[in-house]
């Protein structure tokens, strides 16, 4: 890392190590920093913390000395001194100087955090309720990243895995040692993209672009979560960043591009019912089930049911249009920009012929394409 750790950091690590030799779950500090920024935040925090501890010991040492020695019960008589301008000036000036000392390294770090110039890779990250979209602008690769923890684990029907709630179907992948600039925005409400090991937290604000950057200095998988309350599944939209070697990153990009070509081919196909239903169930569970519930019953008063709904049992054009365009002013997003024609065809078919509905009609990618604006 090449970054010298100040003495307090060493002491803190030593103390923490002594107190909790084998209990990694009683973590007392940030996760091990994996970027220069995160390392500096870590060090600055430790420095400030030890300054605070020092002041605390001095001030409250004095207070507890008074509590011990200047008690009435040991016969201490109160002295009536009060008001001293000299003392007031001293205890105004000393804290001020300490603050100036703390502000100096913080200022340098802020300037570094804000310097997003000259990136090697730029990724546009869009927050949706409740998933993230990663768009590799230079390479034309774009995908959604959704929580992959099975519902049974959340509902305590199955044993929880090691990365419970911190695992996704498609992680963000970046090359090690390269400056990655991220452009943040959101589709619906404000989200915040946070990976502690990378030292990045940035709000994703609908209608605006914000940016941040990091250079990961070690290959590995780093996990984080949405940090801004964004609705009911705020706790269920994790972030996983895989830092790979340059070669692995290139290979990943190529595989992603090939996959996109295959998906484009689906657009012109005509699918059978079983194919549509199977694919639709997958799309439904990833995109719709958190509000409309896995069985289609919705949540009365908050999210309408699919089962028996006017839209899902009415004309299929209305149903497709709802999926494509959403319902403005509600939590129902427009899935048109998020899903391809085949996915929307499949999920609409699934909603019309599963979840207790049986309209009997199939929706094909061509039907969806015709209704796209």
């Amino acid at each position: 890392m090449g970054h010298r750790r100040p003495l307090p950091v060493v002491l803190a690590t030593l103390l923490a190590g002594l107190a909790f030799p084998a209990l990694a779950d009683y973590q007392l500090n940030f996760p091990p920093p994996k970027t220069g920024l995160a390392q500096q935040i870590y060090d600055l925090n430790v420095l400030v913390m030890w300054i605070c501890v020092g002041i605390f010991i001095v001030v409250f040492g004095a207070m507890f000395y008074a509590i011990w020695k200047h008690r009435k019960s040991v016969g201490h008589k109160a002295e009536q001194f009060h008001e001293s301008t000299t003392v007031e000036i001293i205890w105004t000036t000393i804290p001020f100087l300490i603050l100036v000392g703390m502000a100096w390294p913080a200022t340098k770090l802020i300037i570094e955090q804000k310097d997003t110039s000259n990136p090697d890779v730029t990724v546009k990250i869009t927050g949706y309720q409740w998933k993230w979209e990663y768009d590799y602008l230079q390479d034309g690769v774009k995908f959604m990243s959704v929580l992959s923890t099975p519902r049974d684990q959340i509902e305590n029907k199955a044993a929880k895995g090691a990365n419970y709630l911190l695992e996704v179907d498609e992680p963000m992948v970046v090359p090690v040692g390269k400056k990655v600039r991220m452009l943040f925005t959101a589709n619906d409400v404000i989200h915040a993209w946070w990976v502690p090991a990378l030292g990045i937290k940035q709000d994703a604000i609908p209608g605006f672009i914000r940016d941040a950057w990091f250079t990961a200095n070690e290959v590995g998988t780093y996990r984080g979560q949405c940090a801004e309350l964004c609705g009911k599944d705020h706790g269920f939209m994790p972030i996983v960043v895989e830092v790979k070697s340059e070669a692995d990153y290139k290979a990943w990009l190529e595989a992603k591009k090939a996959k996109a070509v295959a998906a484009a081919a689906d657009a012109g196909k005509v699918f059978g019912k079983d194919e549509l239903m199977a694919r639709g169930a997958t799309v439904y569970n990833a995109n719709c089930a958190s509000c409309h519930m896995p069985n289609g019953a919705g949540i009365p008063g908050a999210f309408p049911a699919i089962t028996g709904s006017k839209i899902a049992t009415g004309a299929k054009e209305g149903h497709i249009a709802m999926a494509l365009n959403g319902k403005p002013g509600t939590a129902m997003p427009a899935f048109g920009p998020q899903l391809n024609d085949a996915d929307i065809a499949a999920v609409v078919t699934y909603q019309r012929n599963g979840l207790g509905n049986s309209t009997g009609d199939l929706v094909q990618p061509a039907d969806v394409k015709a209704l796209r604006k």
């Binding site: 913080a106 802020i110 404000i190 915040a192 269920f236």
Partner: protein, 522 residues
Amino acid sequence: MEAHAMEHGHGAPKGITRWLTTTNHKDIGTMYLWFAGAMFLFAGLMAMGIRAELFQPGMQIMSPEFFNQLTTLHGLIMVFGAIMPAMAGFANWQIPLMIGAPDMAFPRMNNWSFWILPAAAILLVLSMFVPGGAVATGWTLYPPLYIQGGISYDLTIFAVHILGASSIMASLNIITTILNMRAPGMTMMKMPLFVWTWLITAFLLIAVMPVLAGAVTMLLTDRNFGTHFFDAAGGGDPVLFQHVFWFFGHPEVYILILPAFGLVSTVIPTFARKPLFGYSSMVYATASIAILSFLVWAHHMFTVGMPTAGQLYFMYATMLIAVPTGVKVFNWVATMWKGSLTFETPMLFAIGFVSMFTIGGFTGLVLAMAPIDIQMQDTYYVVAHFHYVLVSGALFAIYAGVYYWLPKWTGHMYNETLGKWHFWLSMISFNVLFFPQHFLGMAGMPRRIPDYALQFTEFNQISSIGGFMFGASQILMLIVIVQAIRGGKKAEAKVWEGAQGLEWTVASPPPYHTFETAPEVK
């Protein structure tokens, strides 16, 4: 005033109309305090629900939506329903007694500013039972999430309007009373520090409650009348709301804590049997904290993506607040130094306040450092920070004040043993509850999540156990108060050996009307 003077010595009217129609500052103070106590227990129950759900990973006892409703209502009710009315209760009871005034300046408005509070509380409670449930955005009400909600979101906006109107009326009353009705000889710089802190708090309230009202009104029109203040698609900006909200919100947190400073500055000299070390510097420190509070709002927004200059300015300005706050802490310690200390329950809570509030102040300093805040923002570290300043800060100060004046108000000494139990149980369980949350936040646990990754389990369980202990301990307070109202050792006029001030010159309990003839202050 003339009518009162003629029926000198009459007691309180009887029955429910006494409370509905009262213009007596003592009655209104009592009602404020009971209202605050009831709301505190209600919102406390919600916190118990939150800690129960967080006892283990996985969803056990509630849905994520309901969890979000609980965190929102817990915050809104504790801030607007518990802490603020409790402070207003102290103001009503004590300010006239401390400055030698017969009552508040506008007794009828005083009645009204209390009696619209239950209406707001009903709207908030009602909002839990409408379709879709209560507001689930957190107490900060951020759009665009706020725009998505159902009917309860409009009810909450009206509740906030009413709460704001109540606060503004109470503040006008307090300012007018303090500026015009002090006993002859009581110059501004002779006023008890509690009166000073409330005077400054009242100015803060008048300045910022209209700002909050404006912010929620913009939410209301965005939701119902097609405006786009906070909608980028219509030319608005979601972050605008955050600026307006925190321009209210940061002074608001000082509104909660400045009267607490006043309470503690009253209690510590009494039990140290020694005057406050630096009275005038305490007044100036309070005023500078109040002024700085208007200049630092965006430190709640270090992750929205402000320009470098913005991050720097708001960091520097926020760090400055440590200076006057430090002056306060040093003064409290210097007041205790070489005193003749005794440790009755009010003093215990005051010492608990000074030491725990300071921890909250230190974590506040850490959060003020913008680069560190990037990691801490919206995590459990922040939750721990503001509970250190609001629970072991504002709430402990309220407890100190209640124990301090309970004999004065009821005429009976409270049960000192139970009071000390209440303190020690609260102090220990509070730290078990909130200290581990610092570690959770740094380890990566965001706030406002109903379920969490496995590595956060241990500290969450410790925290929940502390939470249940803390919740149960507060029942002791209720028992102590009810006991003291019903009877007990008769309290003298001057309850505490070291007590200073006009309120100790009247009987305990004070007659229904006090200081009909103004006392002389030398």
